[in-house]
Amino acid sequence: MEYILKNGIVFDPKNNVKGEQMDILIKDNKITDEVSSNAKVLDVTGKLVMPGGVDLHSHIAGPKLSIGRLYRPEDIRRGIKPPSRNDISGFEAGFSLPTCPTIGYRYTKMGYTTVTEAAVPPLEAKHAHEEINSIPNLDIPTLTLFGNNWFMLKYVKENRLDDLKVFISKWLKLAKGYGVKIVNPCGSEAWGWGKNVDGLDDAEPHWEVTGRQVITSLTRVNEELGLPHSVHVHTNDLGHPGNYETTLETFDCVKDIKKNRNVDRNQIIHCTHVQFHSYKGTSWRDVSSGATELIDYINKHNHLTCDVGQITFDETTTMTADAPMEYDLFRLTGLKWANKDIEVETASGLIPAIYSQHAPVSVLQWAVGLEFFMGVKDPWKIALTTDSPNAGPFIRYPKIISWLMSQEKLQDMLDNDVHSWATKRTDLGTYNREYSWDEITVITRSSPAKILGLEDRGHLGLNAKADISVYDIDVDDFDPTLKSNSETIENKLLNSKYTIKDGEILVKDAKIVKLVKSNHIWCNVKGLENSERLLENRIKPEFNKYYTIKYENYGVNDHYIKPDTQVNVEYMGENYESN
């Protein structure tokens, strides 16, 4: 199929297109520069055109979601929407814990085409992929949890990085994972005994390995393999006042590790939901923002990127492999607590969270997130996330954009809506920045795509994937800086005029018109097959002793990942960029 997307106002930061009126040509699933006379014209004169949205960190499939839905029927009820008569999508259910189909409907309507599931334990990877099969309309890479895996801990402890490299390469194949996720390294393992680790250099009591060792080892291995994405790190001490120092140390601990020569991205470490890791103080009474120091570091260094994890003032659900932190939250709030320890690999925890604009701590967290948006100068180093649903459900992205684009709106909130900690305990009030559409495009499309190493998307250049979103906003006649327009921004961005994925129109005029199967994106390292076989033979006896399923039944069978995109990486030995 061929289309001409005509006369839109196009934002394509990677290709330096900043709001030019132009046509985008689509042939089959790619952007092209020539179409035949059969091409169908979609007139979008004056409308906002961007590449399809890319979310680099969200929780949309796998065991945490299942537990969440199972134990929060009150959240499911809150998001019930009967099927509409003139839409081909079905009913919706769930607010912070949407059902699988609902996730697809809501993201597509927002113009998103790629969403990363950020934490999958390999043991339950089949489950995550099975759920992805029920989510329509997205491309979904999954990040595989390694930060507390016993084999990893053993190799790190014994400094066997070659084995670790082969292990990661093999395990990504087994889990059909895209990249390496590290969550509270060593802390979730310590949770096996009801404990946590305190900071980057507190060794896990049994393994005597520290978070620092895990992060640096996995970063080295990630770069040696040349995986498209860098290590994706949820640093130690999440949600603890005073944790910004750990975060700073984490930023710094990998800075001398060399980046693989073949990768497109700039960073060697991606630190996720930094908002939760940027607090000063010793308790929730004397807590204040530590964002300024972290922002300063990010502005001065190029080896790291981050996403925000912006608070949105909702009743939502927190879910993370950082299980000890969730128990702390349970002690703090007394709300119903869910926990799941997963043998040999990780733990996870969940708890409902109520972020209120009247509660000092929530407001501090909200302001810290916005500080990052305001303070990080280069938008290519940052991505918009809410760590959905942890800080807020993903359907709040448009609301966040409305705050970022209007100082008037933000100031009004600071003056009238939110608790005074926002200005008293953070530097948010000192910024005076308004995001342009170009910058919004970067933090919701181009930057996350680049950070993920998915070069075919996040832009509209020749041969890029034809993933495009069009919003019913007349760019030249619309002032996003006005407070009075912030609701319009939210509504228009929630309901795209067109969402096009792989050259197919999925949404038209805010209605879903087509449902397609989601695509599983995973990373396949080539060139280590022999080493993998040897490692497998060594691992098997241990595996069968300490897991409770057989190694032979462990991996994700191919039929769970149809259709898939296999991102092939040729292993080329040590192949680093020179500094």
Binding site: Y71, R72, P73, E74, D75, R77, L335, K336
Partner: protein
């Protein structure tokens, strides 16, 4: 004052759902509009006139002055007064699930028994049931830790198990007896039971007050006897007689009060 009189003409073993039959939805509607109101029966949607004869008396300007009077065997009519906010409903029969659940205002009288889930998660208004009520009266819905938070429930007969789970606020008055597990997880509000209770009252209770004028077989170990008070003043009301005050549940460091008449 406008009265909408509904007389049942057809009863089914498959229950029907009355979500749309509320004063605030019908007070300004014409006879035909009311007759055409959607009633749910299983996977079918049918007009009210399939099941009821409708008659209107008088007129009103707002829903507060609207009364819906329902006659016939309503034991298979669910959701009477569900999420109602104003006006009055009188059901002259036994009623099915969810009567007065989620109501925020207005007045419901049931001249008969009610099935389970009466007055669940109510936030305002009055629900009065002249007969007995089954399980989960005044409780929260599955998963919700914020239960009934306002309004009052008056039950003339007996109630079943798990009364007022997770109650936060509001008043419940039971004139009859009460089965096990009343006031579990309660963290506020006031329950008065005039009849007897078998056991396990107030388990995991954090706050709130339960007054028991009848007898109880045994108390949970989490409740500690405090004192005997003559004619105590509880929740702004004097209770005549000698009352034993217990506090608990210690298992949750609770400060709930249970007053039991000697």
């Amino acid at each position: 004052m406008k009265a909408i009189n509904l007389v049942m003409t057809r009863k089914n073993s498959i229950a029907i759902e009355f979500d749309n039959i509320l004063p605030e939805l019908l007070f300004d509607k014409s006879l035909t509009q009311i007759q055409d109101s959607i009633i749910y029966m299983g996977n079918k949607q049918l007009p009210l006139s399939e099941f009821f004869e409708v008659e209107i008396e008088g007129d009103c300007q707002n829903s507060e002055d609207c009364l819906i009077n329902i006659e016939g065997d309503l034991s298979r009519v669910k959701r009477i007064g569900f999420a109602m906010n104003s006006g009055k409903i009188i059901a002259n029969s036994n009623v099915d699930f969810h009567v007065g659940a989620l109501m925020t205002g207005g007045h419901i009288t049931v001249n008969g028994d009610a099935e389970s889930y009466a007055g669940r998660e109510m936030t305002g208004g009055t629900l009065e049931i002249k007969g007995n009520v089954k399980e989960f009266c005044g409780s929260s819905y599955a998963g919700e830790w914020r239960g009934m938070s306002g309004g009052q429930i008056i039950i003339h007969g007996n109630v079943g198990k798990q009364l007022a789970d997770f109650m936060l606020d509001g008043k419940i008055h039971i004139r009859g007896n009460c089965d096990i597990l009343a006031g579990v997880h309660m963290s506020g509000g006031f329950i008065q039971i005039d009849g007897n209770v078998t056991q396990w009252i107030g388990g995991q209770m954090k706050k709130g007050i339960i007054v028991l004028n009848g007898k109880i077989d045994s108390m949970l170990p989490g409740f500690v006897f405090q004192e005997i008070v003559h004619n105590p003043l509880i929740n702004g009301q004097y209770f005549i007689g000698k009352y034993r005050l217990y506090s608990g549940d210690r298992g949750v460091n609770g400060k709930g009060q249970i007053w039991i008449k000697e």
